[in-house]
């Protein structure tokens, strides 16, 4: 921008320097407020906006002019939402169901990790057991975990659009293998901890089958529950990523 001739208006504006990235970010939030736009649509529109901005910049316009012209070209977020929903009315609902299933899976998974946590706390701090009973402690821990994760996501410390997550949901096979092996590993770990803590505190809830029966039973119940959202997630994985598209 330096060296370009500046109009009086521009000089005034430059005092509060125009931040292109911040402007794109606030535009993105406007789009996100549209219930009819799926995240893939928003991402596509954002790349379009950035391309349009770059096009105007190449013609010698400054950041601010380029942004506003590009924004006008792309159109009103509300109007975009209406047009997009006409093209594929079910798309937004598929996406919502996807995130609901993802939420359910997270909640179920956290419930599994809560159990060994409860067992460890009960074993290490027996005095806690006198204040709250075990089920109450479990639910408290579970709620704390959910609040903690929600807090991290809303603060932006946990990015839902991270490349790691994107690569995880790249295709169905990848997702199924990754998710189920992570779940199996976590379940085994949790069940083992729980079993040994209960053995150490001589409190195995009338379970006489030994560690493997105990661990197996725990894993079977948790996995059976978790497989429901996992199946929904596999089914709803975005169509265009399902396979490497064949070229004509």
């Amino acid at each position: 921008m330096a060296g370009r001739s500046q109009h009086p208006v521009q000089i005034m504006e430059n005092q509060t320097r125009f931040n292109l990235n911040a402007a794109v970010e606030s535009w993105r939030q406007e789009l996100a407020a549209q219930p009819n736009l799926a995240s893939d649509d928003r991402r596509e529109l954002e790349t379009h906006l950035r391309d349009a901005v770059a096009g105007f910049q190449q013609r010698g316009l400054n950041d601010e002019e380029s942004f506003w012209l590009a924004r006008r070209r792309v159109g009103q977020p509300q109007q975009l939402g209406e047009e997009f929903v006409k093209a594929d009315p079910a798309k937004v609902w598929r996406e919502r169901a996807f995130w609901m299933a993802a939420g359910a899976l997270t909640a179920l998974f956290l419930f599994t990790t809560t159990m060994p946590l409860t067992a460890i706390i009960g074993y290490c701090f027996p005095s806690v057991g006198k204040i709250v009973d075990e089920p109450t402690l479990s639910i408290m821990l579970w709620v704390f975990q959910i609040i903690g994760i929600t807090f991290l996501i809303t603060r932006g410390n946990m990015n839902l659009q991270s490349p790691l997550l994107a690569s995880l949901i790249k295709d169905r096979f990848h997702f199924a293998v990754m998710t189920i092996s992570v779940l199996l590993a976590a379940e085994t770990f949790c069940a083992t901890i729980m079993f040994w803590v209960y053995v150490a505190s001589r409190n195995v809830h009338g379970f006489n089958g030994g560690p493997f029966a105990y661990i197996g039973n725990f894993m079977f119940v948790s996995l059976a529950l978790e497989l429901v959202p996992v199946t929904i997630l596999i089914w709803l994985l975005p169509a265009q990523n399902r396979k490497t598209p064949k070229r004509a």
């Binding site: 596509e44 379009h48 792309v74 159109g75 093209a87 798309k91 064949k246 004509a248």
Partner: protein, 117 residues
């Protein structure tokens, strides 16, 4: 649906399918580039409003005429590229016959030579 200087709304909507398919027949492309190409080829007579192109592309994709893929462009950012499927290639033939039928009929009525077949 579209903002246009010359063509009527209905005509722009009807012609978007053969235009998009034929552009993609020349190789994969993305939204911004497609709009530039249409503007350039039509000498500015067909002006598609940017945001409205995507619903049309998505509809063609759902109909199986085109496919899409997110790919990293040379700028380092990812773009959603569209390309023709084998069904799309067949659809161009049908579109071509139909549009030429209209074109030829009008040419006969207006007693002008068909521009090109």
């Amino acid at each position: 649906m579209y903002k246009t200087a010359m063509l009527t709304k209905d005509l722009v909507a009807a012609s978007s399918k053969p235009l998009l398919l034929s552009i993609l027949a020349g190789g994969e492309s993305y939204g911004y580039e497609i709009i530039q190409k249409v503007r350039e080829l039509s000498g500015g007579q067909i002006e598609w409003s940017d945001g409205m192109l995507y619903p049309v592309l998505h509809r063609l994709e759902r109909d199986g005429l085109i496919d899409s893929e997110w790919k990293e462009a040379d700028t380092g950012r990812e773009r959603k590229y569209y390309f023709l499927s084998s069904d799309g290639r067949k659809a161009i033939k049908t579109e071509r016959q139909q549009w030429l039928a209209v074109h030829n009929t009008l040419c006969k009525l207006w007693k002008i030579k068909p521009a090109s077949i």
